[in-house]
Symmetry: C2
Subunit: 114 residues, 2 copies
DNA sequence: TAAATATATTGATATATGTTCATATATAGA
DNA sequence: TCTATATATGAACATATATCAATATATTTA
């Protein structure tokens, strides 16, 4: 008997893909990875990642909008951090997956499927 | 004292973002989500997700290249499935994160940070 | 071997996205 | 209130990407 297959609801699907999309860019991923370790202000992020203030600010805006990061003002500066522990968990799972992939190279045929 | 901050190595960073990028598209995410539940052939994927065979094949090619899915031929058809359990775990973490975000709406200021 | 079916690939195109430059906003200090 | 500093925003542009149409490849069956 054919088992029941579950499709993602379109609203949830959008939320999911927006989250993954946000992490699917080198600069943003590096920023988020930093913020999983420590709360940082914008200027420190710029210097650590090595990109311009404008670029970092644009990326932080995206990350804010989908609630991947939160922020607080302290005087002149604004400190960012990841919104919850699941963000760090996402990185862990992705790294584990990549480890798995690296260990399984012999299992994967190099040629094309057809 | 300033604690040591860890940057992602550029090769790992690329692998990570390619993985997230692959999941950061509605069609691909839906496909992968289906495949976390059951092994499916291409035609079934087309019908279930509701997109053309060409489009599905393109997406499957991407997912294959970064080893998010594996496949096997059975006669005329090719059956796809997720490469390892961490792929499903990525979805779980993302969904948990979204749950957290939804529950914390009051904690997030609606206005802009500056 | 020919026809049918299943899947992959190529080329073209419209849309999305990352970055830069310039400018605006907000806070602190003189 | 003026200046300096920190961060955000808007416009423009170049590049990346998703989708479609057409075609190619592989397998099965007649």
């Amino acid at each position: 008997m054919p088992q029941q297959i579950d499709l993602l609801d379109s609203e949830i699907l959008n939320d999911i893909t927006n989250t993954f999309k946000a992490l699917g860019d080198n600069t943003r991923a590096q920023i988020v990875y930093l913020l999983t370790q420590e709360e940082l202000n914008v200027n420190t992020i710029c210097q650590t990642v090595g990109v311009s203030q404008s670029t970092v600010s644009h990326h932080l805006a995206k990350l804010r909008n989908i609630r991947l990061v939160k922020y607080r003002r302290q005087g002149n500066q604004i400190f960012y951090s990841v919104d919850d522990s699941h963000v760090a968990a996402l990185f862990r799972e992705a790294l584990w997956h990549l480890d798995h992939v690296r260990q399984n190279i012999p299992d994967y045929p190099g040629s094309h499927p057809v």
